[in-house]
Assembly symmetry: C2
Homo-oligomer: 435 residues x 2
């Protein structure tokens, strides 16, 4: 007996052996995909979904977010980076509480589920609160509280707040629910700490089998200042200090050099490309075409929505393809399938979930979405992968499922109490922004 | 007695005297806005909409489309321009019938209404069929069938098919329904015709009080070849031949020079900026920041969705703001209100509808939309203009109205029979693409 049978859909599998299957049936049993087949399947199932006119694909993976910043969505647009950060973001962050983080993440995850995202690599603060929020919402999360320290004299790894929260989450949440939640080690960035910090966190990651998450060469300024200070690029100094010796995700990489790309490929680092945020903050356009040419894996992120202002990964998929075509002058750059791969398989690899996520294939987790292609904005569907990459929006997602459990369907959330989110948000708004 | 009273909304008016009104009431009488006020209004009305949690704004204006190309949505992605055009687009276009144009436009207009667009400047073929489709759907349309002729020996203005269709639509549809439909004169582009054609169509426009619609300097190649051929840029040779002596819209303008921008400003030409299409076809990024600095008016278009693949103007609004920030390195470029103005007031001016469209203000047409801001992807709303420019998607539009008549509300169309569109589409697909 299947738990679920999805019939009559178009399956965009992200499996190179059978990338697109029309009239597909997808069977789900005990949270796993039992089969994806072009043949009619009539195995008995507890629930049958007739998905005619819908496209099934693996749930999307957001490899760089600061989800709780959803509280600051649209709070400080159209400012230069320093004003944005020092006059707006930092003062609010200084007043955030554990509870704010919980509810900010609930809001973000509601948006994510409603737009097809099932898994996040999230770096922010109050790590135990982040873990509790993701545990409740039902998404996968690779979570971290990034090390950040400007003053070597004030730094003691043993008593550091980040270290303490890391240990607490390592104990209470790492591996939670069959690995649905993982702790990542994280270093905010080269320019916000120094070699001793990098070595300590690299060691912490290696000892505990954790992935590493770091911001890298986001702005021209930070990249240039590092070269001045160390005589080396951020990628080079971090690599030298062991930061990339575990499975690592480097966010942004807008200003990386050819030599940096060699390092990233050699160290098997996945780039988390955040095109909306990079444009919005005026940071630039990352050389994604060159990354792929060089064999560097590229995944996609939204960054915090205070610089986006959306968690809709379909927007990042399309924009990634558009930007590289527009900048290179070659419309063949980043074809639809390549862009979709970044938001699925490449993200799964970055999260060290490549055996369970990012592909519609027997044995993988049943963590998938259905996109309604029977709407005017998607019709007609000449090529399903094109429809997903260039026409679909997050709002066209009608069902989001993690391990066979429906978390979102046609506007309804099963794990997130959206009315409580609304109420919490209203209280937070009064306290944080109107006082 | 009002026909409609909208209560409790946030009004983003695009009127500089009162750009954002919270707790607004909007009264509608005989197709016009009777008032927009921050005070409670209890005037009796045939219908009252409680729009708490919703943002009202003027309906969007798409100043460069080829709507019927919706039939080819996603048909030929990721190819170089020549392959795209000669191997895919032209062969299909050669087989299109009048009826195909009608239904292709119905599909496009369904998508447009569902994403907040009320008015289009559309250039394609079978002009009478285009006019009939727009007349039925209820949008405003500035419609044209562009002159295109490569061989001076084969050209006779008197017997030209475009001329004949222009005259037919001039008689039957120009000024239809109180000016809802207008005929535009159009020249496809500098490189697809020659001076005699330009002079003839410029004269036709001037004689009949029509606007002019033209593609201008979309690709580096066409721009450079014109300079080689005439010793002048496309903007300069067209201006010299009278093409910009009427109210004119120039689509793309990716490769315009500083001197061209002086011409456009002097001739009062509105640029129709199509950022998605320009990126997708590898044409480049138009210098919108410089256009605005120079005092050139910029409006927004989607182009045909075969190179987009969407008619969602909210995407063009956001991308316009993002691209100029990202390319200039200055996040203050194109702030939210400026981007929204392009899709409203600037578009209205381009269409010569500036006294009736593009603004929520007493006396203007009641052609407006409601955006549902009470969804996770838009919450919280710190600044309504930011929410519209950076967080909203076409799919967040819950109501679209033209002259007080609701054409779309919560998934339901009142003028377009979406089931007939689907059936027609299915027949067209079989005949055009599978034969």
């Amino acid at each position: 007996m299947l738990d679920l049978l999805i019939k009559n859909c178009i399956a965009v599998t992200m499996d190179d052996e059978a990338p697109v299957i029309s009239g597909a049936c997808i069977g789900v049993r005990e949270g796993k995909i039992a089969f994806v087949t072009p043949d009619p399947a009539d195995e008995p199932a507890k629930r049958v979904i007739d998905a005619a006119g819908k496209i099934a694909m693996p749930g999307l993976i957001n490899t760089h977010s600061h989800a709780a910043m959803a509280l600051m969505r649209g709070y400080a647009d159209d400012y230069v980076l320093q004003t944005w950060l020092y006059d707006y973001v930092f003062p609010v962050e200084a007043r955030l509480t554990e509870e704010d983080i919980y509810w900010g993440m609930q809001l973000a995850m509601a948006e994510m589920l409603a737009s097809g995202t099932v898994s996040i690599t999230d770096m922010y603060m109050y790590l135990p609160s982040m873990a509790r929020s993701v545990a409740d919402a039902g998404l996968y999360g690779n979570l971290s509280n990034a090390a950040m320290c400007f003053d070597p004299a004030a730094y003691r790894y043993d008593t550091d707040k980040v270290t303490q929260q890391n240990r607490e989450v390592l104990r209470a949440y790492h591996g939670f629910d069959g690995g649905r939640i993982r702790l990542d080690a994280a270093i905010h960035a080269e320019y916000t700490s120094f070699p001793q910090v990098w070595r300590d966190y690299a060691a912490f990651a290696a000892e505990n089998g954790l992935n590493m998450h770091v911001h890298l060469s986001e702005t021209k300024k930070e990249h240039g200042e590092c070269v001045e200070k160390y005589g080396k690029t951020p990628a080079a100094v971090l690599a030298e200090n062991g930061v990339f010796d575990v499975r690592a995700t480097a966010a942004h990489c807008v200003w990386v050099t050819d030599g940096d790309l060699d390092i990233l490929r050699e160290k098997n680092v996945t780039v988390a490309h955040n095109p909306v945020s990079n444009l919005k903050l005026g940071s630039g356009i990352a050389p994604v075409g060159k990354m792929l040419e060089k064999g560097v894996r590229v995944s996609l992120g939204t960054d915090g929505v205070c610089s986006n202002n959306s968690h809709d990964l379909f927007e990042e998929i399309k924009l990634t393809a558009l930007l590289q075509k527009g900048v290179s002058g070659d419309p063949r750059q980043i074809p639809a399938r390549e862009a979709l791969r970044m938001a699925t398989r490449a993200g799964a690899y970055a999260q060290r979930r490549e055996d369970s996520l990012g592909c519609l294939k027997a044995g993988y987790d049943a963590s998938l979405i259905l996109v309604d292609a029977d709407r005017p904005g998607l019709m007609p569907v000449h090529h399903p992968e094109s429809a997903l990459a260039y026409s679909a929006r997050g709002g066209d997602v009608c069902l989001t499922m993690v391990r066979g459990r429906v978390l979102y369907e046609n506007g309804v959330f099963t794990t997130i109490d959206i009315e409580r989110v609304r109420a919490a948000l209203s209280a937070v708004m009064d306290r944080l922004f109107r006082s």
